[in-house]
Amino acid sequence: MSSEELRAIREAELQAQRIIVEAAKEGDAVRESAKRRAIEIAEEWRSRAARDVEELRSKILDEARREADRILADAEGQSRRLGEGATAGMGQAIDRVVKGVLGLS
């Protein structure tokens, strides 16, 4: 084999090494990029969770407060009606106590 042929083979081997080294670098870059993306994905889901929890909190607690307001409004109405309804029995009840105390019952 001539020295020219040997040089051509040597150059081809060096080129092959460069190709492999470049491919290894590209592979590392792909893995690194995937790691960064994985961190971004985790962050995106955490942000989404925080946003959705806040929405859920507003929805559930607003509903609960509305229900509480309704319960209290009902009770206030019921208290008013109690007063109005009791007016009729008031005289009878007072009479019952007076008679009871005086021993007339």
């Binding site: 470049e22 590209e26 792909v30 993306r37 009902d74 029995g89 005086l102």
Partner: protein, 206 residues
């Protein structure tokens, strides 16, 4: 026509390119799997967070609603209590007024007779307020009709601060019957409470 060396160098470079392609593809596959795993893990964490928060919020919702329910029950109870209290206040006012009417004398006589019969026979003294003591004194000196029932008793010189009625006390002090209007009113506050509630609000009592 390629020479033998050209073929050899071509094969060396071609083989390197194939190897390079495998390396890059392998890295891409690893990256894809890692991303998929990260996505699954993040989604799992998201669902767990939402479930945990939902359970906590559900408890908070129950606390708000049961707090309102308790407050509403207390509101209704307080309204009923006020109405019952106003019945007893008004009744007491009427009883006070009644003690200044002529009809009260009969009631006083009955209250005194009751007290004497509960105190038993023997030496019994009667304690009353100033006005009732005068009334009783007048009735006892008259000694007719129902007033005769008062004969075994004597009026104490001590006066008590009550709306009306009497306390009958045996001479030994061992028996004392409180038949004052104040005492009877106190008892009525407890014994008539359920009945008053039923008259005012129907079936359910406070």
């Amino acid at each position: 026509m390629q020479s033998g060396v050209e073929k050899l160098t071509g094969a060396i470079v071609g083989s390197a390119r194939e190897e390079a392609e495998r390396i890059v593809e392998g890295a891409r596959g690893e990256a894809q799997s890692a991303l998929e795993a990260a996505r699954k893990e993040a989604e799992k964490e998201y669902r767990a967070t939402l479930e945990r928060e939902r359970a906590g919020l559900e408890l908070e919702r129950l606390r708000i609603v049961s707090d309102a329910t308790l407050r509403s029950q207390s509101l209704i109870l307080s309204a009923k209590e006020k109405l019952i209290a106003s019945v007893f206040e008004e009744a007491l006012a009427r009883i006070r007024e009644f003690t200044s009417t002529p009809a009260y004398e009969d009631a006083l006589l009955r209250l005194t007779s009751e007290a004497l019969s509960m105190a038993g026979s023997g030496d019994v003294e009667l304690l009353a307020n100033e006005v009732d003591a005068n009334r009783l004194s007048r009735l006892m000196s008259r000694g007719t009709g129902k007033a005769r029932l008062l004969a075994p008793a004597r009026l104490s010189t001590a006066k008590i601060n009550v709306i009306g009625g009497v306390i009958a006390r045996s001479s030994t002090g061992r028996v004392e019957v409180d038949n004052t209007l104040d005492g009877r009113f106190s008892v009525a506050r407890n014994t008539l409470r359920t009945e008053v509630s039923r008259i005012l609000f129907g079936g359910g009592s406070v």
